[in-house]
């Protein structure tokens, strides 16, 4: 494999793998109104990096541990909707980001590519990162496929699902842990500030064209993969940052889906 191949192959594989599993997980995020939750996980993950830097453990592992831990702490929030959870999530989200930034700057003699974490550094993705992402993607895909109906059932109504005998709390926990895992790994690709864009925009673009949850998930994954291809292509040609380029491409596809939808609606009403 020559050097040129190496350069485009790893970022491409990482991006495509993430986009494939972000389709179904992002759809759940959209259906269950967890967008802010995903944001909070991503922001809080910076604390994980700080922890990793200070204790000198593998940074990817620190990221995953950090966001999984935060997800577990935030889990009770989901069930207490009366408590103004968006305010609380906002506090946790921004304070963890701020504490992470401050602590990192105080850590003497340690240099961390902060911009790389905030905005992602897709082109710096290495084989080991792709391996992590591949393992996580397989885990996420297998678990989602295995519990697909039950997850849809708890998304439609936790109450009805509980009466039908689904283990609602365990399924919620599983979904949140998978989300934390994806957020932690996607950070390298699109960065802390844009992680939830990768989760939300493709399903939003898929929504108007889908008639079933499965169609929406499939279209969301496809939109995500096309966004990665377009974004990387743009990044190579115009030397734009790769992660933001992917998000811009996804946003363009979302706008395109709106146009398609309004065309279809006007044809229907005509």
């Amino acid at each position: 494999m020559n050097l040129f191949d190496y350069w485009w192959l790893m970022p491409l594989m990482a991006g495509i793998l993430l986009a494939l599993v972000a389709g179904p997980l992002g759809s759940f995020v959209v259906w269950r109104r967890m967008a802010f939750f995903g944001d909070t996980l991503a922001h809080g993950a910076l604390l994980g990096i700080t922890f990793g830097v200070l204790t000198d453990i593998n940074l990817t592992l620190a990221l995953v541990l950090g966001s999984v831990l935060l997800a577990l702490l935030l889990l009770p929030l989901q069930n207490r909707s009366r408590l103004s959870s968006d305010t609380l999530l906002g506090i946790v989200s921004h304070s963890t980001l701020a504490i992470g930034l401050v602590t990192l700057s105080l850590a003497q003699g340690i240099r961390v590519d902060l911009m790389g974490y905030l905005f992602g550094d897709l082109l710096a993705v290495e084989r080991i990162d792709v391996l992590w992402i591949l393992l996580a993607a397989i885990l996420i895909a297998v678990l989602l496929f295995w519990q697909w109906r039950a997850l849809l059932a708890i998304t439609v109504s936790q109450e009805l699902a509980a009466i039908d005998g689904h283990p609602v709390q365990r399924l919620n926990l599983m979904l949140i842990l998978l989300l934390a895992l994806l957020v932690a790994l996607a950070m390298k690709v699109v960065g802390i500030l844009l992680v939830s864009a990768l989760l939300i925009i493709p399903p939003a673009a898929a929504r108007s064209l889908a008639r079933t949850p499965e169609q929406m998930v499939f279209l969301a994954s496809a939109t995500g993969v096309i966004s990665v291809l377009l974004g990387l292509w743009a990044s190579f040609h115009w030397d734009t940052p790769a992660g933001p380029s992917v998000v811009v491409a996804a946003t363009a596809l979302f706008a395109f889906s709106l146009v398609l939808q309004s065309l279809r609606d006007s044809r229907r009403s005509a």
């Binding site: 959209v30 259906w31 269950r32 109104r33 109906r149 849809l152 059932a153 998304t155 439609v156 109504s157 109450e159 009805l160 509980a162 009466i163 039908d164 005998g165 399903p203 939003a204 929504r207 889908a210 008639r211 079933t212 949850p213 169609q215 929406m216």
Partner: protein
């Protein structure tokens, strides 16, 4: 009627529940037998929905016990279920998520409830009455031993309400199941129910619907307004009781079925 039909499918004894220093359920006991239709009635905030949740096991009472027959299959039709618009879902897709759903059963209940035409429609495009029927179909898919209906006619026009209440005793006869309903209007449910429990934190009065409608506790709770309900003529049909085996038992007026 054999003995297995007379044993309770669901019973509760001395339920107590306090939420935020306010007594929501106070010493509630009830017994629901196979083939019996009980309606819970009471003003808003009287604890109807909370009681349903406790009986279904979704909430734990502070004290008291709920006993469900082992292996009891419960079909539950919630008061309202608002689906997120962002989730695309057809009626069939929604029904397939229910426990006990199969192609044949979904087809059967779509036909039985006259909603076959909705099968491939999006759940977001349904009218209130259509959506209620879909929710009812969902509750029936499991072949319930106990059908629980929380305000089944919300958002349904009067004609639809009467039709739905006519349907419930028929469904009971077809399935041989017990039915627990919640309603806020006694006169609408009179013909469809065997026993009424009037709830206001505690059980104010209970018994045959004719008896309850004349009970001072009921009149005090609801005032005379409901006495003049436009569909009050519906009450005169009710001088008999539908037994679980389908035969009709005539009774002297006022006799309690407890």
């Amino acid at each position: 009627m054999n003995s297995s039909e007379t044993t309770a499918v669901l019973s509760a004894s001395h339920l107590q529940l306090v939420r935020q220093h306010k007594s929501v359920l106070n010493d509630i006991s009830l017994n629901l037998k196979a083939g019996q239709i009980i309606t819970l009635i009471g003003p808003n905030g009287c604890g109807k929905s909370t009681l349903i949740k406790v009986l279904l096991g979704l909430e734990k009472p502070d004290s008291g016990t709920v006993t469900r027959r082992t292996g009891l299959r419960i079909g539950y039709m919630p008061q309202r279920l608002s689906l997120d618009q962002r989730m695309p879902l057809t009626v069939t897709g929604f029904l397939q998520l229910a426990r006990g759903a199969s192609h044949e059963r979904i087809g059967h209940w779509l036909d039985r409830l006259s909603i076959r035409a909705l099968a491939q429609q999006s759940v977001h495009d349904l009218s209130g009455g259509e959506w209620q029927r879909v929710l009812l179909a969902r509750a029936l898919l499991i072949k319930p031993d106990l059908l629980v209906l929380d305000e089944p006619v919300q958002g349904v026009d009067v004609q639809g309400q009467l039709e739905l209440y006519r349907l419930i005793p028929q469904l009971r006869d077809e399935l041989g199941c017990a039915v627990l309903m919640v309603s806020h209007d006694l006169h609408l449910v009179m013909a469809a129910t065997d026993e009424v429990i009037c709830l206001n934190g505690h059980i104010c009065c209970s018994g045959h619907p004719d008896t309850v409608s004349l009970d001072p506790a009921y009149i005090q709770l609801f005032g005379a307004r409901q006495q003049q309900a436009p569909i009050a003529h519906y009450t005169h049909h009710h001088d008999h009781q539908h037994c679980a085996d389908g035969h009709v038992e005539h009774r002297a007026p006022g006799k309690d079925i407890l």
